[in-house]
């Protein structure tokens, strides 16, 4: 039992530390300011792995959610988070800031072409 826990701790820590070597995809930045996305539309190449850096400039946490992309992530206030997506088929992939999802400003789209 203790052995299992030590193994879990070790493997999780190794993954956390070693994974920087694994990811090397294109990066795009999305900013959340006053519960609104900037920019509202991001054009990306289809068929490639992508990194989306979401920067939350608000003091309150935000939740990036996109059902078409099958991604959701809470980003604490005044911090940023990386979301890995792709490869995407060509098309439009809308996303929302879930805590203010009804606001028009809190919606955006990723266009893959």
């Amino acid at each position: 039992m203790v052995y299992l826990m030590k193994y879990m701790l070790l493997s999780t820590s190794l993954l956390l530390v070693a994974a920087p070597v694994l990811a090397a995809a294109d990066a795009y930045t999305l900013t959340i300011e006053n519960h609104a996305f900037v920019p509202k539309e991001i054009k990306v190449p289809a068929g490639q792995k992508l990194r989306l850096l979401v920067v939350n400039k608000d003091a309150t946490p935000a939740e990036f959610e996109s059902k078409p992309l099958a991604r959701e992530k809470i980003i604490a206030g005044k911090s940023s988070a990386t979301i890995l997506i792709g490869p995407l088929k060509p098309g439009r992939y809308p996303f929302v800031e879930e805590y203010h999802e009804k606001d028009a400003a809190a919606q955006g789209v990723i266009v893959a072409e």
Binding site: L15, L16, A19, A59, T60, A76, A81
Partner: protein
């Protein structure tokens, strides 16, 4: 205040369902009440720690530290639940028969105790850390401020605990001859749903392929944010839009753990006869 209550209710419901099932499944284990409370307290402390280091965790592993961390603690919880079920399959009847023997009871209690502590603690850390962050932001941004948010949060936790308690009491009403079989199935389903969450986190961390995302979309029939959907999600792992990898992990967990339980359990009748 109402916003805080609702969110906290949903998060604490998930943890409360797990705790309710575990409390029922470990019926007969010595001192299990204390282990559950210990798990709760450890989980609360853990939530505060994880919430405050969320930014640091997130940035590990080139930005997907959060997903890997979640996958790690979920996998540990799955192993704990699997161990509990397999152990119960082997010793369940023995345990009920030997409950009179105090020394044996205490020994079984401390072995199971660490399982209870970990499962409860991990469930609370998972739900609690997200909730802490959310509440912090809500309190900071809300016009009503910290006080109203805290009151709302307490109401939410209370409601979640109530549902968990009702589940526990409801389970206790099951006749003894079916009781451990039912709780074994519930724990197995919990383990499988956690396994599916491990898959979800690994897919989001881009460590495994999604194998079709989503495989189906049943949110028109039963939305995951509806009360029934939340309940089914917590107990059985219902997901309105699951990825293929999630279904795969779910099935694998059922087969592997269920198989181990059956294999270990079939050796029992001979053992019982010998002890007579």
């Amino acid at each position: 205040m109402f916003g805080a209550a609702l969110i906290v209710f949903r998060e604490s419901l998930e943890a409360a369902l797990i705790i309710g099932v575990m409390a029922a499944a470990t019926r007969g284990v010595a001192w299990r009440g204390r282990w559950i409370v210990a798990g709760l307290l450890a989980g609360l402390v853990g939530s505060a720690v994880v919430a405050s280091s969320m930014a640091a965790i997130s940035n590990l592993a080139s930005g997907v530290g959060q997903e890997i961390f979640n996958a790690g603690i979920l996998t540990l919880a799955v192993c704990m639940l699997a161990w509990h079920n397999i152990w119960m399959a082997q010793h369940g009847r023995e345990m009920a028969a030997r409950a009179r023997d105090t020394a044996q009871a205490i020994q079984q209690g401390s072995r199971e105790g660490s399982v209870i502590l970990l499962v409860v603690g991990l469930a609370v850390v998972r739900e609690g850390s997200e909730t802490v962050l959310f509440l912090y932001g809500l309190a900071a941004g809300s016009t009503e401020g910290l006080h109203a948010t805290l009151v709302g949060a307490l109401a939410g936790v209370g409601a979640g605990a109530l549902v968990g308690g009702l589940l526990y009491l409801g389970l206790l009403r099951i006749p003894l001859r079916w009781f451990f079989s039912v709780t074994a199935v519930l724990v197995l389903l919990l383990a499988a749903s956690m396994a599916s969450q491990v898959a979800r986190n690994l897919v989001q961390a881009d460590l495994i392929p999604s194998l079709g995302a989503p495989v189906w979309d049943s949110s028109a029939w039963l939305s995951q944010s509806s009360p029934m959907g939340t309940l089914l999600h917590g107990l059985v792992g219902y997901d309105a839009q699951p990825a293929g990898a999630q279904l795969l992990f779910y099935l694998l967990a059922l087969l592997v753990i269920g198989g181990a339980m059956l294999w270990v359990g079939r050796r029992q009748p001979a053992t019982d006869l010998r002890r007579r």
